[in-house]
């Protein structure tokens, strides 16, 4: 199945590796580990379990990163139709199970490990769109409609789960790739308009807890003890960090357990409380540099598919970054999306690293003099 000639040799990897990108990823992961450690150090209960597990997952992800570099992004793009079909099938199975059990089912369980197809789906969606949109550029209605229909189907399956947060990530990815792939601006505007009109329908389809999150986003004081309280407490955590922060392990909001799920959803609140405005600026800047480096690869390659792949990866990371930081300040509703490279959680870390490896693989590609599209 995998064609070795599409991958890279160790020599090529050494020659073409974007070391700045690797360093940025490592730096962000390290800051994430620090935050997870701090989140686990409560006054009443203290645990390093999360840190240890996250480090183990970091090791696994690093190994996968190297493997993906060897295999090369071209192999994955080549197999993307199959990957997309397989994840779509997983989503259908989950939805059927969810309907059978009358609850939200988002993952398959293998022993201790939860496998969440919607995470893998982000990778396969990017690969699929890159290939599809370079083959059939969405310059006309027919090609655009085909791309939207195929990708919209998996968005729909995810909304059924229901997992609104992931669905929004998919939409961001789809929109970004379509925009770069050459969709006329007029169509893009129409798409945005249709999206806005669909909001009331979405509201109708939401579960009680999802609506509650939106309501408390608009006015957290409506429900100060429940979900709204979380928003207020998170905002207090961020705000009280001030310019310099309270210092490592000195955050009171996190350590006194005012923050819910501090090591996952509210990881940035923990970080911002202890490292303040300076820390926040550093993290945002690191991410901005990372996006810049990923897209640098996109500019340097001549492979359209690779360009689309890179913008897809950036759109994904960008959306989750925006959402989780804005949420921590109460500027976006709570969706439960992890902050890339920061939040505790093995499978989401692994998937982000896979996406970054694909982007790195694009960055390596110009070392090949032969640009033959195979």
């Amino acid at each position: 199945m995998l064609l070795p000639e599409l991958g890279y040799s160790w020599g090529e990897i050494r020659a073409g590796l974007d070391r700045v990108m690797v360093a940025l990823v490592c730096a962000l992961f390290a800051l994430g580990i620090i935050s997870i450690y701090s989140a686990g150090k409560g006054v009443r209960s203290s645990t390093v379990v999360f840190v240890v597990r996250q480090l183990v997952w970091g090791g696994v992800s690093a190994a996968v990163y190297v493997v993906i570099l060897r295999v090369g992004y071209r192999n994955f793009v080549r197999l993307s139709f199959w990957l997309y079909a397989a994840t779509f099938l997983c989503l259908i199975i989950l939805d059927v199970r969810g309907i059978a059990s009358k609850g939200a089912v988002r993952w398959f369980q293998f022993g201790n490990i939860n496998f969440q197809p919607s995470e893998l789906g982000k990778v396969s969606l990017i690969l699929f769109m890159s290939r599809f949109c370079s083959r059939r550029p969405p310059e006309n209605v027919k090609n655009l409609a085909a791309a939207l229909a195929i990708c919209g189907a998996s968005v729909f399956m995810i909304l059924l789960q229901p997992d609104l947060g992931s669905a929004l990530v998919y939409i961001a990815i789809i929109f970004a790739i379509l925009a770069v792939a050459g969709t006329p601006v007029k169509y893009l505007a129409w798409l945005a308009l249709v999206g806005l009109c669909a909001l009331p329908v979405l509201w109708k389809g939401m579960r009680a807890y999802q609506r509650l999150r939106l309501i408390v986003f608009l006015d957290p004081y409506i429900d100060p003890q429940g979900a709204g309280y979380n928003v207020i407490q998170s905002r207090i955590a961020v705000g009280s960090g001030g310019l310099w922060g309270k210092g490592f392990l000195q955050g009171t909001q996190g350590r006194l357990h005012f923050l819910p799920a501090p090591h996952t959803d509210f990881i940035f609140s923990v970080f911002a409380e202890e490292f303040g405005f300076i820390g926040g600026i550093i993290v945002i800047t690191l991410f901005a540099c990372l996006f810049w480096r990923i897209l640098r690869g996109a500019f340097r390659t001549k492979d359209t598919r690779a360009k689309l792949l890179c913008i897809g990866v950036v759109a994904w990371l960008w959306f989750q970054l925006m959402e989780s930081i804005a949420m921590s300040m109460g500027l976006a509703p709570i969706t439960g999306l992890p902050m890339p490279l920061f939040s505790y959680g093995g499978s989401s870390l692994l998937m982000v690293v896979i996406a970054l490896a694909l982007a790195q693989s694009v960055a390596i590609s110009p070392v090949r003099e032969n640009f033959a599209h195979i």
Binding site: V238, S240, L243, I311, L321
Partner: protein, 580 residues
């Protein structure tokens, strides 16, 4: 080869999109500037104080009454004193609080208090109970004390009590603190840890109606945790009351009748399915369960071999034995295997299969010639053996399903089981054996792979009594009667009714007669591989114009007539007498 858009400049678009992404991050930075630089002082202050405190005010549950308005579940107001872990966390806090209690005659050491509070800890702003179960007098006494800290919050707690104690335990059920699993499974996010929820019976079935709406009090406190003012107050709303069809006086009579026995008496109105009596014995007092029960008492209740917590009427399954013969009879008549005049000679045994197996009639000397009517009267096994084999198992099971065997009755209390009416497929799958004629023979008289709950049987007999309506039993008097029709013709129904009327008048079921009511009914003996057989009796009265149906099952009671018959006779007479 890939088609490339040669007229299209991807990099141009790419640059645009990249710039949008990068510049949008300024939005985040603007947010950080606003909250961390402009408003920093305000939030530092809020964090250092965290001044809002929320108290959840539990709502009183709706009362539950019996058919004549006697309370079965009510609330009494007790008081509890709560506090926030963030306020009470130093040793001197524990000591002063424990000292306060000790001065007012409530024994508690600071070590006890500390342990108690730490056990309940969830989050610093989540109120926990410092001490519970106080009277109004005790609370006012405490509050008047000069040293009563303003960091302590007295609040009313509704304690559920069941005045009928063990008499209605299986029907009413009980409440208890919500478990972690129930919290995770809830659909509408109503509950929080520490809330009270119906655990079983009517309390659980009608939870949403009974629970009411919780209230909430929001108070602002100063930096030392002392109350400054009320910010918000929502009254809790009491839940809706519920009046049951259950008759507590009749329950008491049933308990008296069952004295010294194990088993169950169920009585139901034949027409609308309202259950008058459901007495499962041994029973238990639900009161301790609602208020926290010691681990030892709980395991004693749970591990009791007599299973007092099990509702035998809906959760216990038994072979129905001969009481099932009415279903067999309906199947035989409707499938035209027999008619009213078909007779069978009963020599006291029946031989079937190769190699032949002998099945005995309960009367070893035989009954002689029997028609279906007299076979019901005499409970002649051979008649049903022989014609059951002719009818075949598949038809018999089909008719069993028509009478609701093997499916829940739909009664409105939780914990109901379906029983089994297992046929060929089941036997092949589970026992890896094919179906023998001998199995059909057993089925025809209610033995074999047939298991039913007493309530299912009550329902079957009610259908005969009311002329063909298989009613859904109900406890909520406000619930509309529901039923489905069984497909037995009136003429055939009458034959069976005559048969069981004869049985009670001068046949095997006459033990139920002589207590006042004119009964139609059937005895049964359920073979029990674990010990003495179970005694069954199901009957209704008045035989001519039936009003109530009663089933009695006595575990280990031996043969049905003599033990269970009088229970049903007396229960029916009692119900009819008190009906005026």
């Amino acid at each position: 080869m890939y088609k490339a858009l040669d007229h299209f400049d991807f990099d141009h678009r790419l640059m645009y999109v990249r710039n949008i992404f990068i510049f949008s991050l300024l939005f985040l930075i603007a947010g950080l500037v606003y909250f961390q630089l402009v408003k920093a002082d305000e939030y530092v202050e809020l964090a250092s104080r965290n001044r809002l405190r929320m108290i959840r005010l539990p709502s009183p549950r709706g009362n539950i009454y019996d058919a004549s308005g006697v309370p079965l579940a009510v609330n009494v107001r007790t008081f509890e004193i709560r506090a926030y872990p963030m306020d009470i966390r130093r040793d001197e806090d524990y000591e002063s609080t424990a000292g306060l209690f000790a001065r007012h005659g409530i024994p508690m050491t600071s070590a006890d208090l500390k342990e108690r509070l730490e056990k309940q800890y969830v989050a610093p702003y989540r109120a926990i109970s410092v001490i519970g179960n106080l009277t109004l007098a005790q609370v006012s006494d405490l509050v008047m004390d000069d040293e009563f800290s303003r960091r302590l919050f007295p609040s009313p707690v509704w304690r559920r009590i069941y005045p009928a104690e063990a008499l209605a335990a299986h029907v009413v059920g009980h409440v208890g603190e919500i478990t972690q699993k129930e919290l995770e499974d809830q659909r509408d996010l109503y509950y929080q840890a520490g809330d009270i929820i119906g655990k079983n019976g009517v309390e659980s079935m009608y939870e949403e109606q009974l629970r009411g709406t919780v209230g909430e009090q929001v108070v602002e406190v100063d930096s030392r945790g002392r109350r400054l003012r009320n910010v918000n107050y929502n009254d809790p709303q009491k839940g809706a009351d519920l009046r049951l069809t259950l008759d507590l006086a009749a329950q008491r009579e049933a308990l008296r009748l069952m004295e010294g026995k194990k088993g169950v008496i169920v009585a139901m109105d034949v027409n609308d399915g309202s259950v008058k009596v459901l007495m499962s014995v041994p029973t238990f007092d639900p009161n301790p369960l609602t208020w926290g029960i010691s681990a030892r008492a709980w395991s004693a209740l749970n591990d009791d071999p007599d299973k007092p917590m099990m509702n035998r009427a809906t959760g216990g399954v038994y072979p129905p034995g001969s009481v099932f013969k009415v279903v067999t009879a309906a199947a035989l008549l409707m499938e035209k295997t027999v008619d009213a005049r078909t007779d069978v000679f009963c020599p006291g045994y029946f031989r079937v299969g190769t190699p032949a197996r002998t099945f005995r009639c309960w009367r070893r000397s035989g009954h002689g010639r029997e028609t279906i009517r007299s076979a019901l009267r005499d409970s002649c096994d051979v008649f049903f053996y022989q014609n059951g084999v002719k009818l075949g198992i598949d038809k018999l099971i089909e008719w069993g399903h028509d009478f609701g065997v093997g499916e829940p009755t739909g009664v409105d209390i939780t914990g109901e089981v379906s029983g089994t009416i297992a046929g060929r497929d089941w036997k092949r799958r589970n026992l890896k054996e094919s179906w023998y004629q001998g199995d059909t023979v057993n089925y025809a008289i209610g033995q074999g792979y047939l298991l039913m709950t007493p309530l299912q049987l009550v329902r079957v007999y009610a259908a005969f009594a009311n002329g063909g309506k298989l009613v859904v039993p109900r406890f909520n008097s406000a619930k509309k009667p529901e039923w489905k029709d069984v497909k037995v013709s009136k003429a055939n129904m009458d034959i069976i009714r005559q048969g069981i009327r004869d049985a009670a008048a001068n046949g095997t079921a006459r033990a139920a007669s002589g207590f006042g009511a004119e009964v139609a009914g059937k005895t049964g003996t359920a073979q029990n591989s674990h010990g003495e057989d179970h005694a069954w009796f199901v009957g209704y009265a008045p035989a001519a114009n039936p009003k109530y149906v009663v089933a009695a099952l006595v575990e280990g009671g031996g043969s049905g007539g003599s033990v269970a018959g009088p229970l049903v006779g007396r229960m029916l007479s009692y119900l009819l007498e008190h009906d005026k």
